[in-house]
């Protein structure tokens, strides 16, 4: 199993969730984070205002997924979250040793 972590522009969250739903993925965990990027002093639109600040609000999505489906999930997030402009974000893929669904005790691919 893999844990996919994507850092994306906040306004892209709904679109990414919908795109994931199209490939049967519904379970995800989301957090609000602050991004600091390679490109300095660029402006980004956030809640209707232009920012020229050092941190930019981002959204982090975590998705645990079976190995054989990981590439498809990465591709889906990439295609949906992309605007082509600076700050679109990153996708990281990590290996999970174990996953467990607390409610039922199911492990491995049955947990997610």
């Amino acid at each position: 199993m893999k844990l996919i972590e994507a850092i994306i522009k906040p306004f892209k969250l709904d679109e990414v969730k919908d795109a994931l739903n199209e490939i049967g993925v519904e379970g995800i965990t989301v957090s609000e984070v602050k991004g600091f990027g390679r490109q300095k002093g660029h402006t980004e639109l956030y809640r209707g205002a232009e920012y020229v600040v050092d941190f930019i609000p981002k959204v982090k999505i975590e998705i645990a997924i079976a190995d054989e489906l990981a590439a498809k999930v990465v591709e889906t997030i990439e295609n949906t979250a992309k605007t082509g402009r600076i700050g679109d974000g990153k996708i990281f893929v990590m290996s999970l040793d174990e996953a467990l669904r607390i409610r039922t005790g199911e492990k491995g691919n049955d947990a997610i």
Binding site: G24, V25, E26, E106, D110
Partner: protein, 271 residues
């Protein structure tokens, strides 16, 4: 009533005899959920193809999953997702696949295979394996189909009970006398609950009220009991007041599909 225990139901409703909606999904009265919707996927696929079509069923399951249904079982989601992303029509054997998710879709399978036991067995397992691959689930699906066939053709409860002995002999764990009162999503618990109340109930309403008030995986035990009791007691035995609360469009479509499915069956072809 889904996910409530029998005691919780008694405390909250006494005995629930009316269609009231609510529950963990906050449903409107008469709104249907995954049991009905997945059955509709099967029925529509068979009618559209004028015959059995595993690919058509899987495609309908996928379209249904994408439509953000009000609930989807974990095992069903995984199986349908594997079909969407890998094109697999059969999920590999899994010791944890002994849930009731394949059984709850058996009514359309039974109708279109009326008159042919071997066809029933093949189709029952093919549709089951899209999401659930386990011998307990397979056996349960096949026997539910056989009982629906007998019921629809007018056989007595005694005859049905005799047919069921085949399952209880090959799979002792399905024995439901004495009834243990378990009504979870585990296919053995589900079928024990359905069989216990079906064989001891006096009519459709009595059977369904008792099954659903047992709690547990109540939407599915209710759906399967409804399938058996409906086939056995007939349409006129369904309480008018319940039918009035059902989503009209669903009722109409189900009636239409049911008739079409039977006309596609070997039994109809032989007439």
């Amino acid at each position: 009533m889904e996910f409530m225990t029998a005691a919780e139901i008694r405390a909250k409703y006494g005995v629930l005899k009316e269609i009231v909606g609510g529950g963990w999904l906050r449903l409107k009265p008469g709104q249907v959920t995954d049991d009905t919707e997945m059955s509709l996927c099967v029925a529509r696929a068979v009618v559209a193809a004028n015959g059995w079509s595993r690919e058509g069923i899987a495609a309908n399951f996928a379209a249904w999953l994408r439509s953000k249904p009000v609930d989807v079982g974990d095992t069903c989601r995984r199986g349908i997702r594997n079909y969407m992303l890998k094109g697999e029509l059969e999920t590999p054997y899994n010791q944890w696949d002994a849930g009731n998710g394949a059984c709850m879709r058996m009514l359309p399978v039974s109708l279109c295979t009326l008159g042919d036991d071997r066809l029933l067995a093949r189709c029952a397992v093919e549709q089951a394996h899209i999401t659930h691959n386990h011998p307990f689930s397979d056996a349960a699906c096949i026997y539910l189909g056989k009982l629906v066939h007998l019921a629809v053709l007018g056989y007595s409860k005694t005859r049905l009970r005799r047919e069921l002995e085949g399952l209880l002999t090959s799979h002792e764990n399905f024995r439901f006398e004495p009834y243990r009162g378990l009504a979870s999503g585990y296919v053995v618990d589900t079928l024990q609950t359905v069989f216990h109340y079906f064989f001891t109930a006096r009519d459709f309403e009595d059977c369904l009220i008792k099954v659903v008030n047992q709690g547990g995986d109540a939407d599915t035990t209710g759906a399967i009991a409804g399938m058996l009791a409906g086939a056995y007691y007939g349409e006129e035995n369904i309480p008018r007041r319940w039918l009035k609360k059902m989503d009209r469009k669903v009722v109409d479509e189900v009636s239409l599909l049911a008739e079409r499915l039977v006309t596609l069956s070997p039994w109809a072809a032989a007439r």
